[in-house]
Amino acid sequence: MKTAATLTVNGAAYPVELDPHLSLLDAVRDLIGLTGSKEGCDDSECGACMMLLDGKPVNSCSYLALQADGRDVTTVEGLAEGDELTPLQRALLEHGGVQCGFCTPGMLISATALLREHPDPSEEDVRIALSGNLCRCTGYDGIVRAVRSAARSSA
């Protein structure tokens, strides 16, 4: 039985009918049409699906959409203000932190959550905070440098 709910994604409220078993990821991708968040695994290991739920990173593939009813969801599409990239998005491009880009949405979510809590993280802080996001292309090097550079530029 589908349940009426309101998903608030990137500040916009979307009235939706949700199956109890539907994941937040599927709801956002298939019902709301925001496909920036990706599905890369089935055991919360890769982090490609990460969103912010009330400001905290969540593996949306393993979170029921109905549990997000009325909560504040942020996806990669909600990070930039209009056409203006965030310092983090720009730094990721400038430091070689983006290759295939499939992990990028989740990386940005994790890094955004980190920088909100730790405006000037150490390399170790960054590496621990990004460990739930697997990247196969970059060896993480450019990503870590980008996060630290973005932190310094916004400090």
Binding site: G40, C100, L134, D141, G142
Partner: protein
């Protein structure tokens, strides 16, 4: 990736913005009106004869719009050097991921349920999982009637051995007999996986007799010809488009499910999309890294000269050939390595088994064989009483040296890479007793192949680069506007790319074999040269000067020394006639003395070889066997580097992938050939917190008979010696060798404690 241009400005990769904003579309992000969802029914046994398939219940399920089995399709086998597979199983299933039938339904749930409802009756056959015992006289045959298959004449069809290759130089037995020392070693590598973070997806849609297929493939043209061949339609009727590709690492090479989905879409009379789960991405693809059993024997003189090498390699091909028929011979070349060896006799067996097929994964065969060989070289050094670096100094190839088949090398920088790596890691310093530095050297050929490109200048002076090149994420294609801009005196931002669409551009090998800059780049630069010529001609006529007196800069064609006498490129382009095309000349593969070699499949000599030395600084917890890699120094000769940030990104990514191969990434099979860890919790990739510091340097020697501007390939070599360097460091700490890859904590602990092997 940003690409530094000559002007010192930063050029942001054209696909960068869409990737960081989430706007970019990957194949699984696409949908089409009326689209149905595909699901496969996989084999219920790893080896069995199919007695009966009954699809009645599946067809009756509400929402099901198509069910397809091999009986509905042309009776055609496909495969590279051996055509041994059908799209859906015909008569026999040979591994757990074999597809018995495909279903399309209006929802994913209905598709999955329908696949489950297909009734298949089997007669189980003996399962062959031991790819070495596959050569025993009484071993069950994976392909009992394969003498009837189409195959390349160099492929030996003998029992379960799909290919037998040798590399032979001189008389290895005689040379071994006169060596001062002889060292023998045995190493074994488990299977592993490419694991792109994007699981594959395919969307097929027909219009009349033509089909468009959006696919997460590295090789759209190979996919196109595979679809055409297996569905028996002209290539012109098949268009393969690759949306953004979420990584590949070889795992997305070859024909992979495009034809099955196209067949489902034709039967359903509506678009059909397939999206793999991570478990399917592990189990069903025909591209994993092969397991290899390696035996090396080297004869050396006291001064370090290597006089003889014998080696015997056995590789696990899994159930089908795919594009990987060449793996055995490639492995044989890596058992020689970039060393001067007077006499060589290497033999390599590529054997079928009832396991997932193996195929090209980033530098196929090289990381495993390098891991074995480079440990063996350290063992030789120890026997000689030489430092391992010193032995390599004395024996690595250089200009004028002879390769394994007497290929004579041009200027080559392998010795320089050794010195740079050793310098960057500070090889000679004292370390705590649980730390050590290991060094390893590897090589990898460049892959000359045809390609073609067009460059159109539009009426406003902007340009469109049309290329068959495939962007796997590395940035190789994304950097092309900078090269074209430099050639034409224009800003790279003036160009857009029309790429990875088989209807738009000429055939290209795709994102494999480290060939994008090498071949596609050559073609694009040739097309740019064509445009340049046309611009010079037009400007010469307009300005009434000789072509030779003109230069292209700042968007103008101008007279050298008189920059005010100029015509803008936009004005010339306004006539709408500037269209360049180019392919360039494919570099020749070097000759060698290959007459004594059996099973010659194209890897007997290495064109424009890329050379790599990596040094790894590790710390070993002897009690647990847990190894941490603190730093890797990587020095590479890939010729002239055209895009430093992109090239560095290949090294950092390759080293970390190599670290995973070294320590944690292994596919574990059960006695029935089923994978026991087809998920990321137990197939462990390196996380951000495990990745080491990586220092990189490039030995840039302009290379003749190679890629554009003296370049060579870049993408595959970074992974070649990483596991080997780590292994040599671990062995230094332990005083013992870990002889099975991956060197998991348990295996390191066992070696340390002398428990088990």
């Amino acid at each position: 990736m940003a690409v530094g241009t000559s002007g010192g400005k930063t050029f942001i990769r054209p696909d960068g913005r869409e990737k960081v904003t989430g706007a970019g579309r990957y194949t699984a992000d696409l949908a089409s009106t009326g689209m149905a969802h595909a699901a496969f029914r996989y084999a219920d046994h790893p080896h069995a004869r199919i007695l009966r398939i009954d699809t009645t219940k599946a067809r009756a399920l509400p929402g099901v719009v198509a069910v397809v089995t091999q009986g509905d399709l042309p009776d055609v086998r496909f495969g590279g050097l051996v055509q041994d597979r059908t799209l859906f199983a015909k008569d026999v299933v040979r591994f757990e991921g074999e597809i018995v039938a495909g279903v399309a339904a209006l929802t994913e749930t209905a598709a999955a349920e329908a696949a489950r409802l297909i009734e298949v009756e089997y007669e189980p056959l003996p399962v062959l999982t031991d790819f070495v015992a596959a050569m025993d006289a009484d071993a069950p045959l994976v392909h009992s009637d394969w003498s009837s298959y189409e195959r390349d004449e160099q492929m030996v069809a003998d029992g379960n051995t799909i290919s037998y290759s040798t590399i032979v130089k001189g008389d290895a037995n005689a040379a071994m007999a006169r060596a001062d020392v002889v060292v023998k070693s045995r190493y074994e590598s488990d299977a592993s996986q490419g694991v792109p973070i994007e699981p594959r997806a395919v969307l097929a849609e027909w219009r009349g007799d033509e089909v468009t297929i959006w696919s997460s493939t590295q090789v759209p043209y190979a996919a196109r010809s595979g679809v055409a061949q297996t569905l028996q339609i002209p290539e012109a009727n098949v268009r393969v488009v690759v949306p953004l590709l979420g990584g590949g690492f070889g795992a997305k090479c070859d024909l992979h499910f495009e034809a099955q989905v196209a067949a489902l879409a034709r039967a359903a009379r509506r678009p059909v999309r397939l999206v793999f789960s991570r478990q399917e991405e592990f189990r069903a693809i025909a591209q994993r890294r092969e397991g290899i059993v390696m035996e090396f024997e080297t004869g050396a003189m006291r001064d370090g000269r290597l006089v003889a090498r014998r080696a015997r390699l056995v590789l696990d091909k899994g159930a089908y050939c795919g594009e990987g028929g060449f793996l055995g011979q490639m492995a044989a070349m890596h058992a020689c390595g970039p060393y001067v060896i007077e006499a060589i006799s290497v033999e390599s067996f590529l054997n079928y088994s009832n396991r997932q097929p193996s195929g090209s994964v980033r530098a196929p065969t090289a990381p495993q064989v390098c891991w074995g060989l480079e440990q063996h070289m350290d063992e030789v050094a120890r026997e000689l009483g030489l430092d391992p670096v010193e032995l390599r100094r004395r024996t690595l190839i250089e200009r004028g040296a002879e390769g394994p088949t007497r290929q004579v090398f041009d200027e080559i920088g392998v010795k320089q890479t050794l010195e740079r790596a050793v310098e960057m890691i500070r090889y000679d310093r004292d370390l705590p007793e649980d730390e050590a530095i290991g060094v390893a050297v590897g090589w990898w050929p460049s892959g000359p192949a045809p390609s073609g490109a067009y460059i159109h200048l539009n009426g406003d002076g902007s340009g469109t680069i049309v290329t068959g090149a495939q962007e796997n994420g590395s940035g190789a294609v994304m950097a092309m506007p900078t090269f074209v801009g430099e050639e034409l005196g224009m800003e790279p931002e003036s160009f857009t790319l029309l790429y990875q669409d088989t209807a738009a551009a000429n055939w290209d090998m795709g994102s494999c074999g480290s060939q994008t800059t090498f071949n596609s780049g050559r073609a694009i630069l040739a097309a740019a040269a064509d445009v340049r010529g046309q611009l010079l001609d037009a400007a010469a006529a307009e300005l009434e000067v000789d072509r030779e007196d003109l230069e292209l800069a700042e968007g103008q064609v101008r007279v050298k020394g008189s920059p005010d006498r100029s015509v803008s490129i936009a004005d010339i382009a306004g006539a709408g006639t500037i269209h360049g095309k180019g392919s360039g000349d494919v570099p020749e593969v070097p000759a060698g003395d290959t007459g004594g070699c059996v099973g010659r499949l194209g890897s007997e000599t290495f064109a424009a070889p890329q050379l790599i030395t990596q040094a790894a600084h590790v710390k070993v917890d002897r009690e647990t066997g847990v190894v941490r890699v603190l730093k890797v120094a990587a020095a590479h000769d890939s010729g002239v580097i055209l895009n430093r940030m992109g090239a560095d990104g290949q090294v950092t990514g390759g080293v970390v992938m190599g670290l995973g191969l070294a320590l944690s990434e292994g596919t574990v099979f059960d006695d029935d050939g089923r994978q026991r860890n087809p998920h990321l919790l137990d197939y462990k990739l390196v996380t951000c917190s495990d990745a080491p510091e990586i220092e990189i340097d490039w030995v840039q020697i302009p290379t003749e008979n190679a890629g554009p501007r003296g370049s060579k390939g870049v993408g595959e070599p970074p992974q070649v010696p990483t596991a080997a360097a780590i292994a040599n460091a671990v062995a230094k700490v332990l005083g013992r060798r870990v002889r099975q890859l991956p060197m998991t904590p348990e295996r390191v602990w066992a070696a340390s404690a002398e428990v088990g092997s």
